[in-house]
Symmetry: C2
Subunit: 215 residues, 2 copies
């Protein structure tokens, strides 16, 4: 034998099962982001993934099924990232960190953000339950922390939920509406420097708006 392969359970000829699935999922994210759910075709996804369409349907029973997986992946990524930040206790540091974290996700995973945005814009038919339970709970918990900061006089009084919405909106816009932002900046694409300027501008305005003086 030339070498001992390491088949997880069974081996196969080209790549292993998980590799192919990941390839399809990645292609699906890209195509769903670019064309929307209905506009995406399993044929195009398969082509981008480099597999025949029938093979795609071997790993994912239906297009809807595949879409659900893509959505779930994205939501999990975001949620895992959000957890990392939950512990910070100083308002300035916490908000600054969160803004930069979300901005980095917009930079690194814009396609996922677009798929998510698409889903929400169309009424979130597949995520409404998640929004009303998991996301709402997380938001409420975060809002309570913000209210504590307000009660302690550490930040000015603002509506905590709307503050969180504001942070989501301003950071995700650099992924979802990246084309528009780039256009008004006179560029073809957003670069690292633009994200750095965005982070500076956002944190400055929001933090100063929250911290400056007493009420």
């Amino acid at each position: 034998m030339a070498s001992a392969r390491k088949p997880a359970l069974k081996s196969s000829k080209s790549g292993n099962r998980e590799e192919t699935q990941a390839l399809i999922l990645s292609a699906a994210e890209q195509v769903f982001a670019e064309f929307g759910y209905k506009g995406a075709t399993t044929g195009r996804i398969a082509e981008l993934a480099g597999v025949p369409k029938a093979n795609l349907h071997y790993y994912f029973k239906t297009k809807e099924n595949l879409y659900h997986q893509v959505l779930e992946d994205i939501v999990n990524t975001w949620f895992a990232a959000a957890a990392e930040f939950d512990s910070i206790e100083d308002p300035e540091e916490a908000i600054s960190h969160y803004v930069r974290l979300k901005l980095r996700l917009s930079r690194e995973r814009p396609l996922g953000s677009k798929v998510f945005a698409n889903e929400i814009i169309h009424g979130a038919p597949n995520l409404i339950g998640y929004l009303r339970t998991t996301l709402k709970d997380w938001t409420d918990a975060k809002a309570r922390v913000i209210e504590q900061w307000i009660a302690q006089g550490r930040i000015r009084p603002v509506d905590p939920h709307h503050l969180l919405v504001m942070i989501w909106a301003t950071t995700q816009t650099y992924a979802d509406f990246g084309v528009q932002v780039a256009a008004v900046l006179g560029k073809d694409d957003l670069e690292d420097a633009d994200f750095e300027t965005a982070a500076e501008t956002l944190t400055r305005i929001i933090l100063r708006g929250l911290l400056a003086g007493a009420d």
Copy 2:
């Protein structure tokens, strides 16, 4: 004669030409907003407008054509609204007005906002020219005004373009992501009071962030 009608050019049996076209455009905006370009079907649009599909194609040659009209209507509305604001000269008043204006548009015309958002998310294939010319020019002009404010020490130094992006993002999110916002607020739909709270929160944070003290 019972009454003298006023046929624009020629009369017809049910409604006049412009009325029917407006009906179709309104239905199209709704269906495009809900299902995206590809997901929208001319059949559904026609049904919602109360005309046979063939009649829809009599007034609008192709689906793409109809979509262009919907987009143009929205862009024109926004641009007309933006012009109304251009003259205000005091930073605080100007920004407060602009935020409330855009928030009102999100409240009153969320479907148009969603169609626009959809188009941008998918790479703005039909609007990239508009973004790079008309919108960029308007943005640059506005940015110059903001830079004057900064030079005059009337607001703190921030990147003017990113400030404008911030205002767009925060206000349009209440239209495009209304379902998500409502969900984390624990409601089924956003109400007038929510838009008022949003306006308060946004203007407070942004204005205080811009105005507070010297640098």
